[in-house]
Amino acid sequence: PSLYLGSISFIIGLSSPGNPKDDFQEELVIRPLHSGDIYASFQFRTVWETDFMRGNKVSHYRLFPKSLGQVISKFSVRELHISFTQGYWRTMQWGQPFQPSPPGAELWVWFQDSVTDVDGTWKELTNVLSGIFCASLNFIDSTNTVQPSASFKPLGIGNETDHRFLRYATLPREIVCTENLTPWKKLLPCGSKAGLAVLLKSEKLFHSSFHSQAVHIRPVCQDWQCKTTSWELRQTLNVVFDLHNSAQGKREWSLFKMFSRTLTEACPLASSSKIYIDITDNPQGEQFEVSPATPLLSQAVVLGDRRTFSVYDLTQQITFGTVRSLNLLIRWKSSEGDMLRPLLHAERYVAGYGLQTGEIHTLMYNNHPYRSFPVLLLDSVPWYLRLYIHTLTVTSKGKDNKPSYIHYQPSKDRLRPHLLEMLVQLPPNSVTEVTVQFERALLKWTEYTPDPNHGFYVGSSVISSLVPSIVAMDTNSTRERPLFSSFFPCKEESSYFVRVYTEPLLVNLPTPDFSMPYNVICLTCTVVAVGYGSLYNLLTRSFQIEEPSPGLAKRIANIIRKMRGVPPL
């Protein structure tokens, strides 16, 4: 069918020259981690030179999926970012991910200026997305949606940023499983039949320490002049395989071990299809060895560091060799060396005891030896944890650290959550602690979930920051770069943008005993039966004397006496 469509579009392309061009690229980056685990990041990018924005009727979809195109034009979406994650990214052990995401589901959308009722459009958009991705995104409503005032600036191009058109929501409880992967795979031009997507087998992907799949739609510059826009759809999938679960403790990774598949061809619709293996820690091949060997090398500046990669180009037939299949093998020889400590990472936990009050602590670590940098902390706490903002303290190195910008929107019961945004300057080589006390609310008994003793989730905090970079970042956005280095736009050379998510919190709310109505009915009925019943009997019962029935001998004697006419005994 894809070949058919390809030939049809070719014919129509010949006949009607006004058809906008689209382009599809796919790549896979494999990065061995110091703990023995391995990190694989897939990115599929479709760029389409069309304009959804000015109400153009787009009717001919080729590589860009029609379901998403219709969503964009119907709801006047300028940017859409949705991610589904299972597991928590451990920054201290694994470094920084290429695309960060919080546990559960996260959705943030920038609408266009032409939208008049943003909240209504947001509600309809979440319902439609819940149908497309088979997730319960319809639970996103005003009680967990916030409108950040400074975080989540658009990742695409744009000249005005009025935060009235931004909505952010997260569902930390959302489960990710094959039913979310299936529609995600169906959005790809080649589906899961050819190219890198054949490696996406759910039985292996979900048996991992971390799994995250995301869809990012944004407008990008078409060329270096940037006078016209094209639409970019990026589908990313990050997965970290555990050494003990997937590799049985042996430090030897291969495509077959990770994905239970090997590659046989690139996607025919892709203009580029590459695999990058991060060999920066292995310049002379002394730590691990990669086979089959490849002559192609590439360097890229990503996450503030210059990394070297071995490149396998799947569009070239020689990559597959004589066996016509590619199974990359990475074998470790020695395990030395330590990891570069990430410059920014964060933790969050709940302190306190009992079911009435508690305290949320957020810790942000700045591991740079001499530079300080600003971070923007976004906290969205549900209404049933009543925050006492007068107890908010921000301390670094034991001293008070006053944030240069605070935006706080108090919650309204059952209507909207708390929103706290702060711009804090982190001093070098320090820990900054943000604490705030809260009180737990008592919910109405119909508002409890069917398993309330599990607890209630509080979404992750988002920490956005411009971290100083070791090497000069590349600010020329139109040069041909691998996809993983062009996700966040870069405006200056000395720093790069990073977003860190903390753990979600699980708090127990005071839970009533749901069997109480049944117990009360039983007890009340028993008390009424015993108490009232006894009283009634005492008042209305009358006693009669009754002679006990005589024994057998006496009865026979009475019968004989009756026959004789004599009075009985």
Binding site: D51, S59, S136, S149, L155, E179, T182, S202
Partner: protein, 387 residues
């Protein structure tokens, strides 16, 4: 039924004509074949498969529902015509030693979860209200299509429920119940709105026969795994996973359905014989008095499979010119990427004052006025009591 093939032919012209050429692989059979082809009276098939139990030890209910889902998909009903409701996630549950799998046979022989599954209602969304709304069609306007039962008066619907139940009720997620009266009324609403042609209702719970006792709408056939007063038992545990994998009735139903293929002629009487008392320990029951046709003439594939009736046409359709995208005026100004963390802009950004408060001077003046009026009316002698 005649198999119909059609292919599309393109002509290389600016104005494209598309002609649909349809040809038969086999010519129309005799009147009997055509008669049987049209005797069932339905044109499309739907399935609503519901698992109502939460928590890991109710793994078998999810496996029950997924095995019926698998059979129904294999026999031809597409995902767009299946509403699958699973109250809890077993496949990616942290207790599952083999993630992304749900097994129905021990020793992990058959993975009914598969690689291509679409769950429409999951987790907390599986409630009595949502179930009844799906059946009756009264859903909010923004509900996506995959969550709706878009059946019409020529649809055959298969409804499968499993979970924990009792005499006259079925428990949803440990927090609410649906009674047999509500279910019967929902089916009556479906009948009055002409939302089904024929409906097959299968339930695998304890005392399942009580759930179909109260039906009163026509064209309903019901099967249950146990009679009133009996419990439906589970089949076999798997020692690696640690829970019971399936219920007995659905296990034997799955084995029965594995032998059915889209063209098979097995009828409902064979379905009634699935899982006799010797295998099931409970006595399965069925109810056919509301059904108009004789169960012996109803094929299994009338409910579990999908019928695609195609119409052959020889007409040609003229396609209009493709809509040329308007290029629009070339923007003279350049676009650029937005600064991700503009620190100076953020610091100088003042949050907008949303609520209006009266100015402080106004409140002071108001109180002064009130005090003056008070003292004017009642005299100055009260002043010394205040101050």
């Amino acid at each position: 039924p005649p198999i119909v093939l059609f292919y599309v032919e393109f002509e290389r012209k600016c104005r494209s004509h598309v002609s649909l050429l349809c040809c038969h692989a086999s010519c129309f059979g005799d009147e009997d074949n055509a008669g049987q082809f049209f005797s069932s009276g339905h044109t499309n098939n739907w399935a609503v498969l519901v698992c109502t139990s939460r928590f890991w030890f109710n793994y078998r209910h999810v496996a029950n529902t997924l095995s019926v889902y698998r059979s129904v998909k294999r026999l031809g009903i597409p995902d767009s015509h299946i509403v699958l409701m699973l109250a809890d996630d077993m496949a990616c549950n942290h207790r599952n030693p083999k993630p992304a799998t749900v097994f129905s046979h021990k020793n992990m022989e058959l993975n009914v979860y598969g690689d291509d599954v679409e769950v429409d209602y999951r987790g907390y969304e599986v409630t009595v209200e949502n179930f009844l709304r799906v059946l009756t069609g009264r859903l909010p306007p923004s509900t996506p299509r995959s969550k709706r039962l878009l059946s019409d008066d020529r649809s055959n619907i298969l409804i499968y429920l499993t979970g924990h139940g009792g005499n006259g009720f079925l428990k949803f997620q440990d927090s609410e119940e649906i009674s047999n009266v509500e279910l019967a009324d929902a089916f009556e609403q479906m009948w009055q709105k002409r939302r089904y042609n024929e409906l097959l209702f299968i339930i695998d719970t304890c005392q399942g026969a009580s759930m179909y006792e109260r039906f009163y709408s026509p064209n309903l056939m019901a099967l249950a795994s146990s009679q009133v007063g009996e419990d439906s038992l589970s089949h076999q545990p798997d020692l690696a996973i640690g829970v019971h994998l399936m219920d007995r009735y659905t296990f034997y139903l799955l084995e029965f359905l594995e032998d059915i293929h889209p063209a098979s002629k097995t009828n409902m009487n064979d379905l009634f014989k699935v899982c006799p008392k010797s295998q099931c320990v409970s006595t399965p029951g069925h109810r056919t008095d509301l059904f108009l046709r004789d169960p012996g003439s109803v094929l299994i594939t009338d409910f579990f499979g999908s019928v695609r009736k195609v119409e052959i046409t020889m007409e040609t359709i003229n396609l209009t010119d493709p809509i040329n995208p308007v290029n629009g005026e070339l923007q003279i100004r350049k676009y650029s990427y937005v600064d991700q963390l503009p620190v100076s802009e953020i610091i100088h950004q003042k949050p907008k004052q949303k609520d209006w408060h009266p100015p402080d001077g106004f409140i002071l003046g108001l109180w002064t006025l009130i005090l003056l009026v008070f003292f004017k009316l009642y005299g100055m002698k009260h002043l010394k009591h205040i101050f």
